[in-house]
Each structure stands twice: as C-alpha cells, then as structure tokens.
Symmetry: C2
Subunit: 119 residues, 2 copies
C-alpha cells in the first residue's frame, strides 16, 4: 500500500508541472482552409518530434468555422519554451501570421480527464 500511495504521488507531482492552455483563434474566413492545413501540420509535427508536447485538440465552432479553439498540454514550462523555438513552430507562425485576426491564450488548470481506452 505504501508503494501504491508513492506511485500516485509521483503521478500527481508530474502532472502538477504540466502546462495546460486554451488558445482561441479567429481566422480570416477567406484563408481558413490554408490555416487549418498549417495548424494540423504544426500539431502533428510537434507531438511527433518533441518529447514534451503531449496533447492538442483543435475544434471549430459549427456556426462559425473560423472561430477555432485549441486545447494544449505540455509536459512543463521548459517543454513549452523549447517548443516555441523549434523550426516547425516558427514556420507555422510565419505561415499563419496574415491569416489570424485575433489570438487569445488562456492558462488553465486541468480539473479532470475521462476517456475511453484508445481515445
């Protein structure tokens, strides 16, 4: 039982350093398809190449598809600082700079996650 408690504390300590954020982006509707392609490429590349980029979910309002919300989870502050210095992130920022009308970043705390296995 001591071992079990120790493991749970380790997990909590690790998750306690995580950076979780919501990004709200308003995109120029005329450039939405190009924006979404660049976003998908950035997400896939960062998760593939960077050990500390853990999770991205990007969604678009059904009623207004150029209103985009992204849930982002990084391992810790160092992982995030490293991320924004990568070639792929800088390429993404340069590609979308004239497509983005507004960007709001909201620091959040993860209350809870519940998912089916494999989701």
């Amino acid at each position: 039982m001591g071992v079990t408690l120790f493991s749970i504390e380790q997990v909590n300590a690790q998750q306690g350093h995580r950076i979780t954020r919501i990004a709200k982006i308003q995109v120029d509707p005329a450039q939405l398809e190009s924006f979404n392609a660049a976003l998908k490429e950035q997400m896939a590349t960062a998760v593939k190449l960077e050990p500390g980029v853990l999770t991205y979910y990007a969604v678009a309002d059904k009623g207004n598809p150029s209103d985009i919300t992204i849930l982002e989870i990084y391992a810790d502050t160092a992982a995030y600082q490293s991320h924004i210095q990568t070639t792929h992130f800088k390429k993404y920022k340069a590609t979308v700079q004239n497509m983005v009308k507004s960007l709001e970043l909201i620091d959040v705390n993860l209350i809870s996650v519940a998912k089916k296995p494999g989701m």
Copy 2:
C-alpha cells in the same frame, strides 16, 4: 492498398457521426469544490458505463477557477440522447443545479487531434 484505403474511409465515416461540444460553465465560487467533485464523478461514471461517451477534458481558468470549460466527445447523436437520460447524469444535473450560474453549449467540429501514445 485497397484494404488500407477502405479502413481509412471506415474510420472517417465513424468519426463523421461524432458529436463534439464545448460546454462553458460559470460556477458559484462558494460551491466550486462541491461542483468539481460532482463533475468529476459524472465524467468518470459516464465514460465507464456508457459505450458512446468517449472523451471529457474539464479545465478551469487559472485566473478565475469558477470559469470552467469542458470538451466533450460522444460517438453519435443517439449516444448523447441516451447519456442525458441516465441516472448518473440526472443525479449530476440535480446536484449542480444551484451551483451553476450560467451554462453555454457550443457545437463544434473536430479539426484535428494530436497526442502522445497513452495520453
């Protein structure tokens, strides 16, 4: 190669029926701890008991922890309709009815997900 393409189309067709939503909830700050406990229980129970409840991420604004955002993914409309009729969901709604100051539900389309294995 024919088989591979067929499998990808099957996955896309299945995901095309999914219901993805963002819920924005403002909670009475005095009852935040009770609300979060009820929310966590609802999320865990629904994912455990209901085949069509796939994913929940609940986060709280760091600057204002009673501003809560939930990303929800259901298998399809039938799964969602079934979900809101369950005993555990009705219990949750009854428990939190006097804790919730406002609730906004936003239907969204999933643009893309990128996650580390096991996340």
